[in-house]
Symmetry: C2
Subunit: 392 residues, 2 copies
């Protein structure tokens, strides 16, 4: 069912489609196009900071450099990473073909890929897939193009992810893929965000960087960074509304947090969704560093899997950071029970209930008034299974 308030075709001026090109052995949809029909074609994007970036990331960085993009071409079933000059040529050829059938310039087509690393894309399937996707482009309630696109970019995701924000006289819509605990080579997070607001590329860029910094950058399922991560924001201007910058920024931020939490919650191998909030920090950076360090402690993550409120492992991780704190002034609460007080034993650990899926760890640094949270998952047998068994 189409939901006119979420997804990339919720804002006016966008059409989308998702088709089966045959890249996935499962036969599920695997190729999508999101087209910006204008009148504006403004774009901003952020990409993985991984220096081993996939061919489509190299391509798309160039595309968005001038602030204009007319479409995003996405495929699952292959990451096109570590594929050398042939991989880049394949991305280029895909964009050229899409440009021809869509009647736009290839240099205005962002390309995103996700799937296994180190394998060439089957171009004999990609090219007819692009034809099919272009033919299927649709928008509005009569055809849920946004939903079809969101489905076609899934890999180990168990549900498609979409979100929306209703601004004053404009809207924002989005789709995302990524499944928290990440199967081999499928670690990619892809996000396409659309808006019919009238926003210049510089404004899109600023709003997008501000939003991703406190959303996707703080979802840290297993500490591993993909070669393909891409977040694209396109503005069609079709609403004619110039948004209040603060409202637009806040709406975009909330939408990105919504999607980031959807990613964490779809962690297939996970048994717990964990929010690690550090507060009373000297700086927001300190708070983020502390939360992220704890989120990457395998000892902490396995303890939560075992429903063990092991605050000693939290403190051990905190102690490896450079944040401002004194060890004997640290307090830690798990799900509301302050089990560590002044760096030592606090309330009864048996009061902590870890049977539910949601876990809130709160770390009080007693060093200021800044705070930040990181969202992560526990480390489980299923994580080990999924990530060891996939490609062998």
């Amino acid at each position: 069912m189409s939901n006119p308030t979420i997804g990339v075709t919720a804002p006016a001026g966008f059409s989308a489609s998702g088709v089966t090109a045959g890249l996935k052995a499962s036969g599920n949809p695997d190729l999508a196009i999101v087209r910006n029909d204008g009148p504006l074609h403004h774009v901003a994007a952020v990409f993985t900071s991984n220096r081993v970036a996939a061919a489509p990331v190299h391509w798309s960085r160039q595309v968005v450099g001038d602030g204009r993009a007319d479409a995003v071409l996405l495929n699952s079933g292959g990451a096109n990473a570590c594929t050398g000059p042939e991989g880049f040529a394949n991305t280029h050829a895909s964009a050229e073909h899409a440009a021809k059938v869509l009647g736009i310039g290839s240099g205005d087509i962002v390309v995103c890929s996700t799937g296994l690393i180190g394998e060439q894309l089957p171009m004999d399937k990609i090219i007819p897939g692009i034809d099919a996707a272009a033919a299927a482009l649709g928008s509005g309630s009569e055809f849920d193009g946004g939903g079809a696109a969101a489905t076609a970019i899934m890999t180990t995701d168990t549900v498609s992810k979409q979100a929306g924000f209703a601004g004053t006289g404009y809207s924002i819509g989005a789709m995302a893929k990524g499944a928290g605990m990440l199967a081999p080579g499928l670690a990619t997070m892809l996000v396409v965000i659309t808006t019919d607001a009238v926003v210049e590329p510089a404004g899109l860029e600023a709003a997008l960087r501000g939003a991703t910094r406190v959303s996707f950058d703080r979802a840290d399922s297993d500490g591993c960074m993909s070669t393909n991560d891409t977040v694209v924001l396109m503005a069609s201007g079709a609403s004619g509304t110039v948004p209040d910058p603060a409202e637009f920024a806040t709406g975009l931020k909330d939408l990105c947090i919504d999607l980031a939490l959807q990613l964490i919650r779809d962690a297939e191998g996970a048994a717990h969704d964990i929010t690690i909030r550090t507060f009373n920090a000297a700086t927001e950076q300190d708070a983020e560093d502390v939360s992220r360090t704890v989120s990457r402690s395998n000892l902490f993550k396995t303890a939560i899997f075992g429903q063990d409120p092991n605050w000693g492992r939290v403190l051990s991780a905190v102690g490896t950071t450079k944040a401002v704190f004194e060890a004997d002034e640290l307090n830690v609460s798990i799900n509301g029970v302050q089990i560590c007080r002044n760096g030592g034993v606090g309330d009864d650990r048996n009061l902590v209930d870890l049977t539910g899926r949601e876990v809130l760890v709160e770390i009080d640094l007693n060093a200021g008034d800044a705070e930040a949270a990181i969202w992560t998952n526990d480390l489980t047998h299923d994580y080990v299974h999924e990530n060891s068994a996939y490609s062998s």
Copy 2:
């Protein structure tokens, strides 16, 4: 059986013991003393850099500050970490009692503890345990004091760890505890090294720092740092030999590497012992950073568990470092098969045999002539089980 060439009582001038104080529920030995009988009582030590350090670490840092120590008192069955002022008072009281029964100054007694974090030591068991350990002190082949001490400091270790080096006219002996993949709160590595060589504290310090930098610092089983890690080196001078500094440094380094590899090999939850060697790096630091980053990738570690030579995960991890390299100049070999060449597909991945316990990953950065290796383990179901099930 006593082996006169390894262990802390192999060098002349040292006696040791290990007894059951009743700290462990298992009834296994859990308290040890290593005494330096002189004539020299020189010492150097390195401690965990974790800012949440255990009470005995705070105590022992002060003890070794003047370059003199007469004994090391060690217990398993409790880490005495995150135990506040009471915990420090307990360490102090233990040292005072040991000083009284040994007839030495409490300020010359290094204290080491290992076990669960956040619980006070049962002093009603520690004090009589010290009496028993002092009474049992022995050396030489008639009584294996070194072996008894090595056994008493074990926690999740399946075997006790000792090593030795025969220098020209002197010797070095050592014991260690730590079990690679680390059970909850039992992550501590404790190492006591003894020598009968005549070496001043400054010389011990320099040799020890040089040795630990390329041994224990490069054993990175799961990326988690203990609150209690301690490496102590004591010199009795009983041989009367002033060693050649280069020979002493090399012997100490090799002994520490021997112990570090024993720690990695005793990783209970591990199925593979992995050496990650990075070479042709611009600097040794680059090489170490790259190897360590790969060693901490859960995706890489689960792949090795699954006997999957997933070089894409190696490259993904390398790409997150700041080391000097170009992505299209990276080569990766696993167990001798170069499966990644120039950042892309290399030889047939099916040629890689990962059925054995030893795995060698070699990463060629093509950026210089420096190299470094990190020793780690894979991430397995048993790791998750042991670290989630222990305290709950």
